[in-house]
Symmetry: C3
Subunit: 342 residues, 3 copies
């Protein structure tokens, strides 16, 4: 089954369908390069100019673009075309992609004391340790490791090569991508005569429902209490979440972010790529930090925060950066001028 | 065995115990939320106010806090409560956590020419290649790979999913966390008519004793000589150590640091999270670099160094960043004013 | 065979050999510490002073250094000593390092429907999924996973612990290092009433020929179209390539770089360590970005670009950073002074 009738989509996902329900759709795609069997969406007004020219079979648009869309062919009118599109991709994946059957691959190593739910899929060479618990409908990818006593919630999916180490828990419907490490030791040492004395990390990691964690991201176990990630949090790739961090519900972090130990990030925050957040801070709900900023103090008020050097031609940057190293002195010179002129 | 007498702890770790040696301790925890069977510590004077209010069964304190601590219940007086606490966590982990038995899991793939020491544990699906050497009491985690001719020292522990590739060596009592890659090729190319010609990386990686390496950190093999990490170095997660880097003893680096090729970092340095260090530099002993700084030149004197843009409200940042791009011009204007006023 | 005659090298790689072709070479090494059986190269004029003092058996030099080199012993004169050296390392690796035989390790899990070429090596515990295609002479490292329908080109090498997930393709002669994840989901969500709605990532990853990808680097699959990496691209370790990024041929990126979604990077660019590139941008061919810069806008002209805070003593940095937060106000004060003086 490689195509589907437009009417079937509208029936499943709602919206007002204008045009032929019988139109066959073979793919979802961008306006540019679309063919008469492509279903597109328009959510960013920036791309409105592409609308008229596109060969798309059907376009999902907001009510405001109804007229423009109808002039060129079939349309689905939806309140939020981007959310509609997101749900369409989910429907599409369920409907059009091959499903993977439940079952335990014979090469997997599953401890006798592990508790495996109904309809679980455990792929080749996965390792499930003693007393681990895998919820109904969960998928454990090839080569993934579930540690001793660790709990994986129902319908959660681990991609290949995931490590969820001892004594951690993941909620339901989570998606964990390849290379993720959950429950490695936090980075904790006391210093004694110039040497580091390890603080054993005795806590765990507790992750809520509907959390997604990107490839090669790390979430360390807590030193004494647990590291906590609440429901609906989305973490991109190559993120570092240190021990005893607490991330509030529905916060999203882009790639290469690092959050240091014991920091509390609020709910509904967005942290852009490459941001670093120092330790022992408090970040309020609804804080948004732009790319590559260093959050060096608590941010107790909702808002947008930034702190990155503006990029420039190397030559101009060199001059400005050199002057920056004397900025305090420059201010003193301005002060002196001001005095003189008074 | 889920609890232990306070006296047993004091006997094992020293310090002056004030109060009942018979008191049963069930956990180590922070002052906040402690119960009468929790053992706490006070090392940061910031938390002194929590001392009186805490329900903790016993608190480890410095001599200066003896009076305050005794007023509220049992106490252990130690010169450095944080070091005491660190050693306590180690004792606790040895005493209270389940031990893992030695032995080679039947699913592990161990080359006939590998030399395996006494009391080694090789977990499920680990791969030990030809001529590799595993020291006494070492633990090789599930799915870990030890390359051809690679030497793992006595009592070193590899977590699951570690790769130590061909011809590398790790010392004794090291801890290597999941996803670590030791001995991948350094990033070396010559350019010929716009194309990159690979420089084969013929060196190895030599790591000393008591080194700890965090999850998903990479230590590349040298181009000709070796990449070297000396005794007692502690690396956090997601760190990049390029080819032919040399890190001096007891230096610690926090998460997401990158050290470029052939740079020499001294001993007893601390490099905070997200710092980048350029290639072919020399960093002296006892250098401390604050978070997300770019070390673009050698730092030949001990000290504290910084270089990150201060975070601000996005609106203020935008104005300041825009002005920063004209900073050199601004200095010229100040100069002109100064001339005029002379 | 642990040494080789100098003449054999010159015969294989060209260049003008001055001195005894019979000289035995046991290693390639730096000038410093070289012995009479070491073959060195001089490409950076900075090291010219080391030339006379070195004990090296032979030195590869550019024509301009012929006289100086000959005065001290054998030399190979080559137009570009660094390219010569690169090719020498390749010849050396082929000639002097043990070769690995083709064959499928009995512990590997290879789907019946996978198509495996001639002379392929599949190492222990690798997993090759349904309909995957492995080209002639490819090497699949221990524990690596090749997803359903994924194509690995001829003579491409995956190190241990690589994940190339479903529906991706790699060209010929690529080298992929341990921990790399190709084809994890891009980070795409729509927001609906404060919650994130996943956008299923329906595209793939297409990688050209002669691409090298460093340890623990991630290349996400596209949302609708594919993420594309063209021929000859070199990526270092711990890099994040987001969905639908397009990287032009022969571009090189150093460690810890992050490229956000849908950005197009040109050909022949060099992106230094720790750089972040925002999403939906266009970077022209032959753009060079220095370390830890944030590329927040398109760079449509070839050139060198920078944007990092200059490192300083922490005390000076603190004063300058504090002033920086009032830079816009400072400019206004200068403006006021200028007015007054007019």
């Amino acid at each position: 089954m490689n195509d589907v009738a437009l009417g079937e989509i509208a029936q499943a996902l709602g919206g007002e369908l204008i045009g032929s329900a019988a139109l066959r759709i073979t793919r979802i795609g961008p306006l540019e390069g679309a063919t008469p069997s492509t279903l597109c969406f328009l959510s960013n007004p920036r791309y409105t100019s592409q609308l008229a020219a596109s060969q798309a079979g059907c376009v999902i648009v907001a009510p405001a673009f109804r007229e423009q869309a109808v002039q060129r062919g079939a349309a689905i009118v939806a309140d939020d075309p981007y959310v509609y599109f997101a749900k369409l991709t989910q429907w599409w994946a369920r409907r059009m992609l091959p499903t993977v059957p439940a079952g335990i691959h014979p090469s997997a190593v599953v401890a006798a004391t592990a508790r495996i739910g109904q309809n679980v899929r455990i792929e080749a060479l996965a390792v499930i340790d003693d007393e681990a618990e895998i919820g109904d409908g969960a998928i454990i990818g090839a080569h993934s490791v579930v540690g001793r006593g660790t709990r994986i919630g129902a319908r959660t999916r681990l991609a290949p090569h995931v490590s969820v180490l001892d004594g951690c828990s993941l909620g339901e419907r989570c998606i964990v991508h390849s290379g993720v490490v959950i429950g490695a030791d936090g980075f904790g040492f006391a210093q004694e005569q110039g040497r580091w004395v390890k603080i054993e990390q005795l806590g765990g990691v507790r992750i809520g429902n509907d959390v997604e964690i990107g490839a090669n991201t790390c979430v360390d176990r807590g030193a004494l209490g647990d590291t906590v990630i609440e429901d609906g949090v989305k973490l991109d790739n190559l993120i570092q979440i240190a021990h005893n961090v607490h991330i509030g519900a529905h916060t999203a972090m882009a790639g290469c972010v690092g959050v240091s130990g014991s920091t509390r990030v609020g709910a509904h925050c967005t942290i852009a790529g490459g941001v670093g957040i120092a330790g022992h801070l408090t970040i309020a709900d609804n804080v948004h930090v732009t790319a590559m900023s260093l959050v060096s103090r608590s941010l107790l008020k909702a808002g947008v925060y930034s702190g990155a050097f503006p990029i420039d031609d190397n030559k101009d940057w060199e001059k400005n950066a050199a002057t920056l190293r004397q900025l305090h002195a420059l201010r003193e010179r301005v002060r002196a001028l001001e005095k003189k002129l008074k």
